[in-house]
Symmetry: C2
Subunit: 328 residues, 2 copies
């Protein structure tokens, strides 16, 4: 493998000049060409380890997700990779398999890798544990007070979706949420309750079904809702997988949307686009989340730390289709 020394020898220039060239310094046009040719000729590639050793920067960030098997995170992960690459960073991905015990272990593992920063969607880790890592960290999707976070406005998201159902005359509105210990699920439940409060309606707690964030939960809880007497006239699902499971349950019961039941999904572009008519859905701005997280982290890694943790709350979109029927 050719080194900078070989390029220097080949061009007759010094190592320092080659380094200058590599890092965008001033080099005579003539030499610039010769260095370029030499690099081409020798197939020289920068040795990142040596550079990292000198600069004390690995140009790598760790991304820790609850699960790679969740479409929301998988997609966001792909976006983050793009944005990081644009800033010259590589990305090491880990998942903690929705296990808080593994979460902190993986964080320590990442930190031990001498990476420059961490992006994490936390579940059980505390602010103290995170600051103890002494590494720039930006939280994603879920916030912890005192730390940089990028989240979506879950309360407003669900509030607006439920409001949409209310103004269409619905009063018995089923809601399927994830585990309340996760802040996103808790906030989404809150959004539901706020919408009801805004319209002076009382919440029937039986209509709020708490389960996991997975397809099976969506399916199961949807069936529970449909088994009620009377069943809800509309149902709001609060995650991608819950949406998929709930729709499957509805179809299995041979219920037509929106004729037999109204429905609002979450984070589901692909599948619902396929339906005729498509399903009204809350859409989180995944690319924007990825971008915000990346830019914020890049700033922090660049040393821009004013001591004020930033909380970026992004707006969701309610994509209206024809899955909401009108009552009364």
């Amino acid at each position: 493998m050719a080194t900078i020394k070989d390029v220097a020898r080949y061009t007759g220039l010094s190592i320092a000049t080659i380094s200058k060239y590599l890092n965008g310094g001033n080099v005579l046009e003539d030499n610039r060409r010769r260095i370029g040719a030499a690099i081409e000729q020798l197939d020289y590639k920068v040795n990142h380890a040596a550079r990292a050793l000198k600069t004390n920067k690995t140009m790598t960030v760790g991304v820790l997700l609850p699960s790679l098997y969740t479409p929301f995170f998988a997609l966001i992960c792909a976006d983050i990779e793009q944005f990081l690459k644009a800033h010259g960073y590589s990305m090491i991905v880990c998942s903690y398999h929705d296990d808080p015990a593994e979460e902190i272990l993986k964080l320590r593992f990442l930190q031990g890798l001498n990476i420059d920063g961490i992006i994490v969607a936390p579940t059980g880790v505390t602010a103290d544990e995170l600051t103890a890592l002494k590494t720039p960290i930006v939280l994603m999707d879920r916030s912890i007070p005192g730390l940089d976070s990028v989240v979506t406005d879950n309360i407003a998201a669900v509030h607006d979706a439920v409001e949409e159902l209310i103004v269409h005359g619905h009063r018995r509105i089923g809601m399927i949420v994830g585990p309340l210990a996760v802040t996103t699920a808790f906030e989404r439940k809150l959004g539901y309750e706020r919408a009801f409060a805004d319209y002076n309606l009382t919440v029937d707690e039986n209509l709020i079904r708490v389960g996991g964030y997975d397809i099976a939960s969506g399916y199961r809880e949807m069936l529970e809702l449909l088994n009620m007497d009377p069943p809800p006239t509309a149902v709001m699902a609060s995650s991608h997988d819950i949406t998929v499971g709930a729709i499957m349950a509805a179809y299995e019961r041979k219920l037509k949307i929106p004729e037999d039941i109204s429905f609002v999904g979450y984070d589901e572009e692909q599948i619902t686009k396929v339906f005729d008519p498509p399903v009204t859905t809350v859409l989180q701005p995944m690319e924007e989340i990825a971008q915000s997280v990346t830019e914020l982290l890049v700033r922090r890694m660049g040393g821009d730390d004013n001591g004020h943790p930033q909380l970026i709350r992004l707006k969701t979109t309610l994509v209206r289709h024809q899955s909401i029927g009108t009552i009364g």
Copy 2:
């Protein structure tokens, strides 16, 4: 940040001894304890860049996927991470967004990162382009002659599933496959045809629907099949997303499985488990794929290259449930 030098000073031992300790060499029990304590005390962490510079190994492998948004790859990716970690390797994940033009660029990018090896699920890249990278590479899911690959036996997988349908009396069997340019899709189509040939049945080409590997394709092609006159009595889907789309189409048409139509899915544990009755499914051994790929690559990175590229073909499982009805 404490260095090995600090640990040496703290313990009164030499740098060389600390290094020996770190790499598992022989050190007096007493010193071993003192070094451990010093490391703890000083919060010493190995500097991977320095180590990589000396050893010429980054202990990192690149994983390049067609897409992170495909459950099959996302799941396998999570497994690979586990296995690599067990061998002391980290993983850098990239996706080429199903774009062959980006594929080779990402490969070069990965190689430029001085990683020790690459795992890739290729689409358009050639054997020459890959060997030109001069980096140990193992292919996953899709094989290229002359290169190490780990794939599943797609032909047998579909053959056996279709055979199952045939012995249940089905003759008009719909088949939804992905883009035939991808070897997996091509092989799955072949498996279908072989099953028919084995039973001296002629294939109705109209029943083989070629589309994308995505949910929308599954949905669309399923509707096409259902619109035929007469429609097939059974349908075989050949990927996870195709399965999801096809089932949605069936439910939308209010068809009950298996009473109205028999169905075999692919790679779908989660969703089909949710149904009552669950759907018969071809299951690829994802964890085993991840393990084989990792072990093979680790061997190659360890220098075990006998010049004979290895093709590992893993068996799929047909998970039988009650989604197949009997005809006649």
